[in-house]
């Protein structure tokens, strides 16, 4: 198959072990359970060495792509992260964020193509921190690692991506995140047109991948287009365009590669429902949006609230029921000390009174 052919063309070497982990601003804010699950799956389920360094910081990528952090500055911040890795005795850099992943690849490529920028960065880093730049041997996104381990995860699976009521594979929309492979197609598994990174997981765990016309379109984040309120109309409009395009395929859930995309595809469904009374799930509710760590976690039998799925605005319970995942509905609203902390207010997106998109089309 042609899709597979393109995947063959864009394989990349992924280190098998000994990773240095760089966290993501957005992922730890909105999906702290996903970062926890990633580390837990690697360390405790697969026996892989991954180091969570207390000294690293944001890559400042959101500031860079909002055009307030200069190129020279972000290069030096990135250089500091690389040095920290070397100092900790690692050489395989793993980023939990697509924006950062793009930045790391881009900075390395820029140093390669414009050696004077690398020299300048070394100078700045030395002057500011006394550290020496050591470049990583490999760069991977966290999803690359899960992809690499997908068969091992499948062997340990407690659930498969199958609707237990019908026995049919779940229909899954995958969303990759622009900076995963559009900047450097060779940096992504499967390239930029038919990335295989999430599709490979979905297939390995029993689901069906939905190909819909706006599959490659951006979620609309667009940095300043979301971060400044006045611009949000265009940000939401891009997600709206994608949701309109995918709804006829009646997906059971969306899985996203990029933490920002996962958050926006979730939150914009809420907003669209509030603004327009429209929902995109076949049941008249929203379409649950998962991170791949959550997807992997559910497959491995993790508790959904331990995975942090209570952070989602679109309720995931209908999906958990389809998967046959057992969960304690009350535990969703417990704090760290196990005490009930109250519930969020209801939202239209989770009420079945919404008109599903395909009915409106009829």
């Amino acid at each position: 198959m042609s899709r597979r052919a393109s995947w063959q063309e864009y394989q990349k070497d992924i280190a098998a072990d000994r990773y240095y982990y760089a966290r993501s601003c957005i992922r730890q804010n909105f999906f702290p359970g996903s970062e926890w699950a990633f580390l837990d799956i690697l360390s405790n389920r697969l026996g892989i060495d991954i180091y969570d360094d207390p000294l690293h910081t944001s890559c400042t990528g959101i500031g860079y792509h909002s055009d307030v952090v200069p190129l020279e500055t972000i290069m030096t911040v990135v250089a500091r992260q690389f040095s920290l890795m070397a100092e900790a005795g690692y050489e395989n850099f793993v980023s939990s964020c697509i924006t950062s992943f793009g930045i790391y690849n881009e900075v390395l490529a820029t140093w390669e193509e414009f050696p004077e920028t690398e020299e300048r960065t070394r100078r700045y880093l030395r002057e500011a921190t006394g550290r020496e730049l050591v470049k990583p041997r490999s760069i991977a996104h966290t999803s690359d690692i899960i992809f690499y381990q997908r068969e091992a995860i499948a062997r340990k699976a407690k659930h498969r991506l199958i609707n237990r009521h019908t026995g049919e594979p779940l229909r899954v929309v995958e969303h990759i995140g622009c900076h995963y492979a559009k900047i450097f197609p060779k940096s992504g598994i499967g390239g930029s047109e038919f990335p295989y990174v999430l599709a490979g997981m979905i297939e390995a765990w029993g689901g069906d991948v939905v190909d819909y016309p706006e599959r490659r379109h951006c979620c609309g984040f667009g940095f300043r287009n979301y971060l400044v309120q006045a611009n949000r109309g265009s940000s939401i409009a891009n997600s709206h365009k994608k949701l309109e395009s995918m709804a006829p395929y009646k997906p059971d859930f969306i899985v996203a590669n990029c933490p920002g995309c996962a958050m926006f595809l979730d939150k914009w469904q809420y907003t669209i429902a509030e603004m327009d009374g429209m929902a995109y799930g076949a049941d008249g509710k929203g379409i649950p949006v998962l991170t791949y760590e959550e997807m992997a976690g559910l497959v491995l039998g993790y508790d959904p609230w331990q995975l942090g799925m209570q952070f989602h605005q679109v309720d995931v319970e209908p999906l958990l029921d389809k998967l046959g995942v057992e969960y304690d509905p009350g535990a969703k609203y417990l704090g760290a000390d196990g005490k009930y902390i109250g519930k969020p207010a209801d939202a239209a997106i989770n009420c079945p009174s919404q008109r599903p998109i395909y009915e409106r089309r009829k």
């Binding site: 198959m1 042609s2 899709r3 052919a5 393109s6 390239g191 047109e193 038919f194 190909d211 819909y212 016309p213 706006e214 599959r215 490659r216 006829p248 395929y249």
Partner: protein, 340 residues
């Protein structure tokens, strides 16, 4: 005894060169990789700009080769070229007094432009697939139904450094116009859209045909390269382009997307050129000695070119050039062997 010239390739260029050589009393030998003569033109239905059947051109040429008792090797691949002969894959050597490289081109593989989904979406086809359908007498969608809206995309594998094809393939523009007219003849109520960057009508009658397509056949022309194609739930093709003449993005769903695939240099040009000590042009074609006064001569005495081995050309230009090649070979042999 007649001088012997090996012609590598039995397409239009090779056949015409051989015929002209023979009529000058030289003994040509055609070495053809395929099992019959005719080359790429065998897969073509009608030719621009006159709508002549391709077989009406290729057929008589092949017949003439036969009638003139020109020796042909079939199913034989040439692996090495030298001014004094060629070596076949079988390691058999055919000695000669001169060699003509008429190895033609390779069609651009549309799979490589992944964003168009060729090979993945049933109703995304190439211009070659369309010719094949026309030879078969019926152009339909994958499910057998008639297309009502068709987009034809120019420059697939041409003027595109992303796929290492920086050159213009020259013939696709006029092919797009020709195929649009043929589609309109077949389905007069269908809407046909050509998406182009520049319309390059370089030959006699081409510009006139372009205008006829526009005015008489109501073919639509949109100035903008399609950026991506995707299949809809109904197996139609959603395309995205910019209508650059209005400066706005343009969205459209069509029943069929035809990719006008360009000409690539043959992959084995690299090896052949190396074996002969010849240089290649940056786009992988053989490099002619001079762009004006030596278009059919290589940089080595005794090795000549004919047709698309050196650059994309139309069939008419290829045939004209092949005659020139024969005359250049003739002149070379006369000089070399001091005749007259």
């Amino acid at each position: 005894m007649a001088y012997r010239v090996v012609v590598v390739g039995g397409g239009a260029a090779g056949m015409q060169t051989a015929i002209e050589l023979k009529s000058r009393g030289i003994e040509p030998i055609i070495v053809e990789r395929d099992i019959e003569l005719g080359g790429k033109a065998r897969g073509w239905y009608k030719l621009f700009p006159t709508f002549t059947h391709a077989r009406e051109v290729i057929g008589p040429l092949a017949q003439q080769v036969k009638d003139m008792h020109i020796r042909c090797f079939y199913g034989q691949e040439v692996t090495q070229i030298a001014p004094d002969g060629v070596t076949l894959r079988s390691e058999e050597r055919i000695p000669a007094d001169a060699v003509v490289v008429a190895t033609g081109f390779t069609l651009f593989d549309a799979h490589r432009k992944q964003e168009y989904g060729y090979g993945l979406y049933d109703n995304v086809i190439t211009s070659v697939d369309l010719e094949r359908m026309m030879i078969g007498g019926r152009v339909t969608l994958a499910d057998g139904s008639e297309p009502k809206r068709i987009a034809i995309l120019h420059c697939v594998g041409s003027r595109d450094e992303k796929v290492g094809q920086k050159h213009c393939s020259k013939v696709c523009c006029i092919t797009g116009v020709k195929q649009a007219i043929e589609l309109k003849e077949m389905y007069p109520t269908a809407d046909v859209f050509n998406f182009y960057m520049d319309i390059r009508m370089f030959g006699p009658g081409y510009e006139e045909l372009y205008r006829e397509a526009q005015e008489r056949y109501n073919v639509h022309f949109v100035r903008g390269r399609i950026s991506e194609a995707a299949e809809t739930i109904n197996k139609r093709i959603q395309i995205k382009a910019e209508d650059t003449l209005t400066g706005r993005p343009l969205r459209m769903t069509v029943d069929m997307l035809v990719l006008l695939v360009g000409m690539s240099a043959n992959y084995d040009n690299v090896k052949l050129a190396a074996s002969a000590g010849l240089a290649l042009a940056p786009n992988g074609y053989f490099k002619a000695r001079d762009a004006f006064l030596g278009v059919v001569r290589s940089e080595r005495e005794g090795i000549f070119f004919a047709g698309t081995a050196t650059a994309p050309k139309s069939l008419a230009d290829t045939l004209a050039e092949a005659s020139l090649t024969a005359s250049a070979v003739d002149a070379y042999l006369k000089e070399k062997f001091n005749i007259e």
